[in-house]
Amino acid sequence: MVGALALSLAACGSDPGADPSGEGSESGTGLSGELSGGGASSQESAMEAWRAGFQSQNPDVTVNYDPTGSGTGRENFISGAFPFIGSDAALDDEEMAAAEEQCGSDVIEYPGYISPVAVAFNLEGIDSVNMDPETIAGVFKGDITKWNDEAIAAHNEGVDLPDLDITVVHRSDPSGTTENFVEYMSTVVPDVWDFEVEDVWPIDGQESAQGTSGVVSTVTAGEGTIGYADASQIGELGTVAVGVGDEFVEYSPEAAAAVVSESPRVEGTADSVWAYELARDIPGTYPIVLVSYHIACATYEDQETADLVKGLYSYILSDEGQAQGTESAGSAPVAEELRTEYMTAVESISAAG
């Protein structure tokens, strides 16, 4: 807070007569103009913080982020309406080709927003329950119907599990959170979770609610309810420590970020594209993560847009931007060495011609 204030004061101080010798001050990047992008709504609260931070460093800049959803965001990027977007899924081959054509250059794509997805439940007096992946999939599939079922009790000695029906609450709208969660289950326990991975919940007949806040309020209002939601939004609910290998890991931003840095990068893409095939079984990491990509062009038609996108993305990857994201949106800080790699790509953003 104090840092931000000092920065904005410095910016104010250097503003009036700073035009010729602006290079001296740390925030005197001389950026100005308006930049409007959009996309994944999962990134909205983080983007809100980043926007505010970036604008306070550059008082003449206005950044807008329209949380249209990832699909619409990608469409708008390909049509050129959004110069930068957030998307819960990486561009597929077809979209990538179209986007490269629109940009007239390579596309820059990396996971800029990483957020643990918590499996949250509402049981009176119980804050944490251990579940291995088979159990999680069994519960959400509807095979395990009671909280004191043998499968749950086996990993929770000493916890007084009630004889209560389990009510599963999932997202009713298509969502990157759902896609990540079901992808986790179908990767780790394909025998139990034998559904296709899609952004809509595959099972009919269960309770559901719209949006993260809808799921959280429904789980909170019920008894014996269980759902999945962005970990930063779950409030006072109890959470499941997820079984990875032989241990049970509680969610944390650091444990979530570790998944990305230890997962293999998808090959056969341009140098500036970092898409990942997430590995869900690395001990010590929290395997259920929502990875949302930041996507931009390597070159833009006009200088102003290029400078603004470069400025915004550099700010997000900076120490300050990362701290800001963790503090206000619970996003996991990107691992140091990956950040350096992404930064080289972002630094190369320029105007065409």
């Binding site: 709504s41 952004d199 007949g205 269960q206 559901s208 719209q210």
Partner: protein, 338 residues
């Protein structure tokens, strides 16, 4: 509304027939000039409505066309919710059913209450109370639907839950209350209650006005024959107001059919099932709520499929309105209005 006014329309020019020429003579040509301008403004406004309607219909048709003509495989690839081997009709059918069921239930709940309020205001309440009550009911209409949604989802659903359980346990043999009762109360029954509250103001307002227009002569004649107040209402007020109440109901139904936000926020949606079990989770969804639910993440053919469901809603609403018009027009001859 317009249909109830229409019988008066031809009468009006007749009333002013003697006075009108005199005024025209006095004012001279300027009045005639503005007359012509106003005539064009009014005609333009009328044409504008037609043009808007045509534009919406055209938009729906054009944008829905790719989905209507796409093969089943293409559809299930583009829309996650449509499983393989399901046609668009098989997918939209349950949505249409859910939309109609929710709206009709809401209407069934709202009608008796709305007529009760209307009659109370027009025939029972002291004038000052009637005024305040009328104002309060109108105020209900000013609450945005997203607020109704929040209220229904956060307050009403938990409150109604025990009642739904009671219904399920004791009246489970009745098809509407059969099945496993939802543990969260986010079901079609709750949606119908909220929709009923939302359509209450419009139905009340219209039926109140209709009841107030009952000719005093009819009422006094009934009283003179020794009728009690209830009998006056039964033999004079209700028959007179029947067509007006009908059109009030249709206005309410129209609103309930198209309501989006409140339904979206309350219901645990279900797809591909025709079910009467209004207390069970994930058995129904309405078209408008489905479009709002999926539009944010839809792309390509998915958008076309959503617009195709929108086209279905457009057609249903039109059919409902036309049926209502037909009923009202037929009943008019028999009511006491003429």
């Amino acid at each position: 509304m317009t249909t109830t006014d229409s019988p008066q329309r031809p009468a009006r020019p007749g009333d002013h027939a003697e006075r009108a020429p005199a005024r025209r003579r006095r004012r001279g040509t300027t009045e005639r000039g503005f007359n012509r301008v106003f005539r064009w403004i009014a005609t333009g406004a009328g044409a504008f409505i037609l043009a808007t309607l045509a534009a919406v219909a055209l938009f729906l048709l054009i944008r829905a066309w790719p989905a209507l003509t796409a093969s089943e495989d293409e559809l299930s690839d583009a829309v996650g919710r449509i499983p393989e081997g399901t046609s668009l009709l098989e997918f939209v059918g349950p949505l249409i059913f859910g939309t109609l069921l929710a709206a009709l239930l809401a209407l069934a709940l709202a009608m008796p209450v709305a007529m009760g309020i209307g009659l109370f205001i027009s025939h029972y309440a002291p004038p000052r109370l009637a005024q305040v009550l009328g104002y309060l009911v109108d105020l209900l209409a000013a609450i945005p639907s997203v607020v109704y949604g929040l209220w229904g989802f956060l307050v009403l659903a938990p409150v109604l839950k025990p009642f739904w359980f009671w219904l399920g346990e004791n009246l489970g043999w009745f098809p509407l209350f059969a099945g496993q009762v939802s543990a969260t109360g986010k079901v079609l029954a709750t949606v119908s209650v909220v929709l009923a509250v939302m359509i209450l103001p419009i139905i009340t307002a219209v039926s109140r006005e209709v009841f107030l227009q009952t000719p005093k002569l009819h009422e006094e004649a009934a009283l003179a024959l020794g009728a009690t107040r209830w009998e006056v209402i039964r033999v004079a007020v209700l028959p007179f107001g029947r067509s007006g109440v009908m059109s009030a109901a249709m206005l309410g139904l129209g609103r309930a059919l198209g309501e989006t936000m409140a339904v979206l926020m309350i219901i645990s949606p279900g797809f591909l099932v025709y079910s009467l079990e209004i207390l069970a989770a994930a058995r129904h969804n309405t078209i408008a709520a489905f479009i709002a639910l999926d539009f944010a993440e839809a792309s390509g053919l998915g958008v076309n499929a959503l617009i195709a469901t929108g086209l279905a809603l457009f057609l249903i609403t039109m059919a409902v309105n036309m049926t209502a018009r037909a009923i009202v027009a037929r009943r008019k001859d028999f009511s006491g209005a003429n």
